[in-house]
C-alpha cells in the first residue's frame, strides 16, 4: 500500500469512490465540509424531523475535526482528525442523504460499515495527532453553519494534497482489521 498514491478531487462522484480499496493512500484536493459531535447531532435531528439541512450533503466529503483557533494571519489552527466512532450513531443517515466520504480516525461500528456498502461511501483515516502538518494542507476555511458551536461549527475547507488512507471501502474491506491480522504475532 505504500507504493501508489491516488489523487482525489472533491466533491467527487461515485465512480471515484468505486475505485478505492482499503489500504489505498490518497491525497485529497478540493472542497469539503468539517463537522464533529455537536454538528452531527443537529444534522441528524433535522433529518429525523424531515427538515432541510443548512448545508448540502450530497456528493460531499466530511472531515471530523475541531481545530484550534487560528492565530492572526493563519487560515486555520492545528487540524488533525478526531475519533470517528462518536459519529457512528449519525453517519448512516448522512450517507443516505448522499454523503460520499468521511475522514477521521479510529474504527467504525458494524452499522456504519454496512451503510458504507449500501450507500456506496468510503471512510478514510487521516493521521491522528498530525494536526500541525494537516493544517498546512488546508488552504481556506470558512464557517458555514452552527457558528455558535465554536470549534465544532461546520466549516467549508479547501484542501490541497490532504493525506489520508482508505480504511473502509464499499466492498466491505477494513484496513484496521486486515492490517492488524497481517502483523499480529500469536
Amino acid at each position: 500500500m505504500e507504493e501508489k498514491i491516488i489523487h482525489i478531487k472533491v466533491p467527487a462522484d461515485r465512480s471515484v469512490i468505486e475505485k478505492l480499496k482499503a489500504g489505498d493512500r490518497v491525497l485529497i484536493s478540493g472542497s469539503m465540509l468539517t463537522g464533529r459531535d455537536a454538528a452531527h447531532k443537529r444534522l441528524f435531528e433535522l433529518i429525523q424531523q424531515g427538515k432541510p439541512l443548512p448545508v448540502e450533503i450530497s456528493g460531499q466529503f466530511i472531515y471530523y475535526v475541531g481545530p484550534t483557533p487560528p492565530k492572526p494571519g493563519e487560515i486555520i489552527g492545528s487540524a488533525g482528525p478526531t475519533t470517528s466512532g462518536r459519529m457512528d450513531a449519525y453517519a448512516p443517515a448522512l450517507m443516505e442523504k448522499g454523503l460520499l466520504g468521511m475522514i477521521g480516525k479510529g474504527a467504525r461500528d458494524e452499522k456504519v460499515k454496512k451503510a458504507m456498502m449500501d450507500f456506496k461511501a468510503v471512510y478514510f483515516a487521516a493521521i491522528g495527532g498530525a494536526g500541525a502538518l494537516i493544517s498546512k494542507r488546508i488552504v481556506s476555511s470558512e464557517v458555514i453553519a452552527y457558528e455558535d458551536l465554536g470549534p465544532e461549527a461546520i466549516r467549508r475547507i479547501e484542501v490541497k494534497d490532504f493525506p489520508a488512507v482508505v480504511i473502509n471501502d464499499i466492498y466491505g474491506n477494513d484496513l484496521y482489521e486486515q492490517g492488524r491480522k497481517l502483523y499480529a504475532v500469536k
Partner: protein, 281 residues
C-alpha cells in the same frame, strides 16, 4: 521560616507551561519517532512515523499545537511544606494560568462545565489538579494537556489476587486491543497496579507522565514493562492502527501497596502526542 511564592508567579508559570507543552514535544520522544521509522516493518507504519516527525517540526517552526486536541489540563503540584503561597489562592492562580495560556496560545477550549449539560466553559478551565505535600520550600508544577481520544480508551479493573501477574498482563493487553486504532497509536501505556480503586487510576496517570525513555528504577518492574511492551506489540495494531510492529513505544508501570483482598489495575492510554512540562518555583 516559610518561603513565600506569589500567586501571580504560579499563574504566569502555568500559562507558559500550557502553551509550551502543546507546541514542543520532548526531545527523546521526537528522537523515538525517528528511530522507530527505521525499525517499523510495515510501510504504512513507517510513513506514520515520518509524518509524526515532520508534524513535530512544523509545530515548532509555526509555534502551533502539535495536535488540535489541546486537552483538558491536568496539573500536578508538589508543594514543599515550608512554602507559603501569597497574594491569592493556589487553585485560582492555576486556573487563571490555564485561562490565559489557552487564550494567548490559541489553544482549543475543550472543557465543559458539566458532564450532563455539556456547555463549553470557553477558557478550558477548570483544570484537573492534584496536590502533594513534600519536604522543602519549593513548588513544582507539572502541566499535562490530555486529549480525549486516548483518555477514553483507558480502563480500570479490580482483579482477584488469584489472577496475579498473568491477570494483570491479560488486562493490559486486552485494553490496548479494545482501543485498537482509536487512541492514536503508537501509544505510551501507563499501568497503575495496587493501592485502591482511585489510587491505581492516579498511578496509571503518573506512569504516563514519566519522562519518555525512562524505565522504572526497580529491576522487576522494569522487566514487567519490557514484557508488557513485547506483548502489546504482538497485537499487530501498529502505527495509526494501519497494521505494524510498533503499537506502543513505551510501557510505564507504577505500583503501590494494597489490601490483602485486592489487586487493582488501571491502564491509562496516552497517544503519541505525549505532552507534559514542568517548572520548579
Amino acid at each position: 521560616m516559610a518561603r513565600e511564592i506569589k500567586a501571580d508567579q504560579i499563574t504566569d508559570s502555568v500559562k507558559k507551561l500550557c502553551i509550551e507543552a502543546n507546541i514542543y514535544l520532548e526531545e527523546p520522544l521526537k528522537a523515538a519517532f525517528h528511530k522507530f521509522a527505521g525499525l517499523e516493518e510495515s510501510g504504512a507504519g513507517r510513513e506514520v512515523f515520518h509524518i509524526l516527525e515532520e508534524n513535530a517540526a512544523i509545530a515548532e517552526r509555526e509555534k502551533m499545537p502539535v495536535c488540535q486536541d489541546t486537552g483538558i489540563t491536568i496539573v500536578f503540584v508538589k508543594i514543599g511544606q515550608d512554602a507559603h503561597v501569597i497574594g491569592g489562592g493556589i487553585e485560582d492562580a492555576i486556573n487563571e494560568g490555564v485561562r490565559q495560556g489557552y487564550k494567548e496560545g490559541y489553544l482549543r477550549k475543550s472543557v465543559l462545565s458539566d458532564p450532563i449539560e455539556r456547555k463549553n466553559t470557553n477558557d478550558n478551565t477548570p483544570a484537573v489538579i492534584y496536590y502533594e505535600i513534600v519536604p522543602g520550600d519549593a513548588l513544582l508544577i507539572e502541566v499535562a494537556p490530555k486529549g480525549g481520544g486516548s483518555e477514553n480508551m483507558s480502563a480500570i479493573k479490580m482483579l482477584k489476587p488469584s489472577q496475579g501477574i498473568e491477570g494483570v498482563k491479560e488486562f493490559v493487553v486486552d485494553t490496548v486491543l479494545k482501543a485498537g486504532p482509536n487512541p492514536c497509536p503508537p501509544i505510551i501505556v501507563g499501568v497503575g497496579i495496587g493501592g485502591t480503586f482511585e489510587k491505581a487510576a492516579l498511578l496509571s496517570k503518573k506512569a504516563v507522565l514519566r519522562p519518555f525513555g525512562k524505565s522504572n528504577p526497580d529491576e522487576k518492574k522494569a522487566a514487567l514493562e519490557n514484557e508488557l511492551l513485547v506483548l502489546i506489540n504482538k497485537t499487530g495494531i501498529g502505527p495509526a492502527g494501519f497494521g505494524g510492529r510498533i503499537t506502543a513505544m513505551q510501557v510505564n508501570v507504577e505500583t503501590y501497596p494494597c489490601h490483602i483482598a485486592s489487586l487493582p489495575v488501571a491502564v491509562n492510554i496516552q497517544c503519541h502526542a505525549s505532552r507534559h512540562k514542568s517548572v520548579m518555583l
